[in-house]
């Protein structure tokens, strides 16, 4: 056998597009598309919009990206196993509301964030049990959790925002901290997915769950873990959002946000069918999605066009994903 250099490229792992006519070099450079697109948009914005390229603005942008990115990364883990998690924003809101309420009432700013993550873990765990152990359809399990969460949130808060949260919270979890947490999670989850045993398990399950089972991989445990981590990520997103807004309210995670989350993952190279995708792409995908929203605002388009444009963007993203893999989903 010829010894092949093991190049650990940043390309998403996937089957090659069998009908692709691009030159091999072009295919290998595919991973550049996303960063280049983002760079281009940044460039255009800084040229045409005043005060865009300030540190303040960029920080604000990244603070918006962080929660979406974190939820998208959790969802990506699940999608790589071939499943789907639509409960992200709902779980995030639930965690945020419960945690913020706790902190407002007791002033305990240490356990508060932990509580948020805990709530996320719990809800993600329920998803995991439904999908991994009860063998139910992922879409519907996470859908029911999403519905139940909105009920929990409304019941807990009676429809009002949580008041009385100490300003120290936002002071501690300031913008820099939020961004640092986001980047750390990106590195951590990326490492987990690409380099560890657990990550390989997820890819195998997504590639062929029956083969994974026969081979002796812990399919149920790993799937359960993926959903639980996704829930925990939603909890972290809850922390971020609460800190950024200095409060938590029921409308924090509208169901439409799930589209942002899933688009970020799909744009970032995660295939809906499972078995491929990487975290770096997802993070970049989140940046792109948030930037698009910002662009829309900056350009002066009225708010209600956002939905329309985002919808079109996700359709475009899916189209590109399809072209990328070259086979029908």
């Amino acid at each position: 056998m010829r010894a092949m250099p093991i190049s650990e490229r940043a390309t998403p792992e996937e089957a090659p597009g069998l009908r692709t006519r691009a030159l091999p070099t072009l295919r290998r450079l595919r991973w550049l598309v996303l960063p280049v697109a983002i760079a281009l948009i940044l460039l255009t914005l800084s040229l045409f919009v005043e005060n865009f390229a300030t540190a303040n603005n960029i920080l604000n942008l990244l603070v918006q990206v962080a929660p979406i990115g974190v939820m998208a990364m959790g969802a990506a883990l699940v999608m790589i196993t071939g499943g789907i998690d639509v409960s992200g924003p709902a779980v995030m809101t639930t965690a945020a509301v419960i945690g913020a309420d706790y902190m407002a009432r007791t002033g305990d700013l240490v356990f508060g964030p932990a509580l948020m993550i805990l709530v996320g873990l719990l809800l993600g765990g329920v998803n995991g049990i439904g999908v991994a152990f009860l063998r139910m359809v992922a879409l519907v399990v996470t859908l029911s959790i999403m519905t139940i969460c909105s009920g929990i949130v409304t019941a807990w808060t009676n429809g009002q925002s949580v008041v009385g949260l100490s300003p120290d919270f936002s002071a501690t979890f300031d913008r820099t901290t939020i961004i640092v947490v986001f980047l750390s999670l990106t590195l951590l989850l990326g490492f987990l997915l690409r380099k560890t045993l657990f990550g390989r398990w997820l890819y195998c399950i997504g590639a062929n769950v029956r083969a994974a089972r026969v081979t002796g991989l812990p399919t149920r445990g790993a799937t359960f873990a993926a959903y639980t981590i996704s829930g925990a990520c939603a909890g972290v997103a809850g922390i971020m959002n609460t800190a950024a807004l200095s409060s938590a309210r029921p409308g924090m995670g509208p169901d439409t946000q799930i589209l942002d989350v899933v688009s970020a993952a799909v744009i970032g190279g995660v295939s809906v069918n499972g078995g491929s995708g990487n975290i770096a792409g997802v993070a970049l995908g989140a940046v792109l999605i948030v930037m698009i929203s910002n662009v829309i605002n900056l350009v002066g388009v009225p708010d209600y066009f956002t939905g329309l444009i985002k919808g079109l963007v996700i359709i475009l993203a899916i189209g590109l994903d399809k072209m990328r893999s070259g086979s029908p989903s």
Binding site: R135, M136, A155, L312
Partner: protein, 325 residues
């Protein structure tokens, strides 16, 4: 595993009928429980009101049933209904159009969306779940734009129409007949037309269908267009019943519709399911549970719980059935 070694002959037939039986039993049980807890449950006005208000859900459930049977998925159903209702309402109120024109416009919008969906999903072979999710967002966006994100009260215009509608055909509003007609016609189409049988075939096994010469893209396209068209009917019915176009109209109905369809025995994988009784019963169960809980005095905050729990339970039963077949 060679199927002959594994599949005992009786099993599939009996699980199917056991499931339907338990559905009816659950429905009956629910009726019994609620009527015993409250005098007003089993009254004519309550049943009538629930069904009337639930007409859009029944229609949207029928709509999504077509998509599911054909082996695909359409999450934009509620959004399409909403958009159709918006268009219809705007035309009636702002443009003072005659009723028939407004209805046609609403249905036309729905059909166009159906065609777009088919283009993306069937021709371009994009993932149905995500694509229709995107369409949902886009269409709701269009709806918001058109209504400028405000509630439109139909007020006097609609009162006239309603007055005209109610009291015709023997005391029952025409709308009820519309709903009944849609359900029955859908079932007839499914069971007794070539298109219906082809939909089931394609939903069961797309490749085998293609090998037999069935025009799979055409069947799927037609199914998706039918889905959107029925949503259009649902949206128009909704606007006329409600009397106004609210901004968050039919929110979440797509998921309710999936729940209702699955409750009624439709498989998410395609091929299996019915309109009558299936989807109809599923939708009625959801409607009457909501109604019953409200009557009994349960806090409205528990509604999402109950819905989520029922959805969960229905899915679980469905997954059991798939496992034993």
């Amino acid at each position: 595993m060679p199927p002959s070694a594994m599949t005992p002959r009786m099993a599939p037939k009996s699980t199917g009928s056991v499931f339907s039986l338990s559905l009816y039993m659950f429905f009956a049980l629910m009726v019994v429980v609620f009527s015993s807890m409250s005098r007003t449950f089993l009254t004519f006005s309550n049943i009538y009101g629930t069904i009337l208000n639930g007409a859009p859900l029944v229609l949207i459930t029928c709509a999504i049933n077509f998509a599911l049977l054909a082996g695909t998925l359409d999450l934009s159903v509620a959004a399409v209904g909403y958009a159709s209702g918006c268009v219809c309402g705007i035309m009636l109120r702002n443009l003072q159009s005659p009723l028939w024109m407004a209805i046609c416009a609403g249905l036309g919008v729905a059909t166009v969306v159906g065609l777009i969906n088919s283009l993306l999903i069937v021709k371009l072979k994009m993932n149905a779940f995500l694509t229709t999710l995107g369409m949902m967002l886009a269409i709701r966006g269009v709806g918001k734009i058109v209504t400028q994100d405000r509630t439109i009260l139909m007020g006097k215009v609609l009162a006239d129409i309603r007055h005209m509608k109610i009291g015709s055909l023997g005391g029952f509003p025409v709308l009820l007949f519309v709903v009944a007609a849609v359900v029955l016609v859908s079932q007839l189409v499914l069971s007794f037309t070539r298109f219906g049988r082809h939909v089931v075939a394609v939903g069961c096994d797309e490749r085998a269908a293609r090998n037999l010469g069935i025009d799979v893209p055409r069947v799927r396209t037609l199914a998706l267009v039918t889905t959107s068209f029925i949503c259009g009917i649902g949206g128009v019915v909704w606007v006329i019943t409600l009397g106004s176009v609210i901004t968050r109209g039919l929110n979440g109905y797509e998921f309710l519709a999936i729940a209702a369809a699955v409750l009624g025995g439709t498989s998410l994988f395609g091929g299996r399911g019915a309109f009558f009784p299936g989807a109809l019963i599923g939708a009625l169960i959801l409607l009457f549970i909501a109604d019953g809980l409200t009557i009994v005095g349960v806090s409205p905050y528990t509604m999402p719980f109950v819905r989520g729990a029922i959805l969960f339970a229905a899915m679980y039963v469905d997954s059991l059935r798939v496992r034993f077949t």
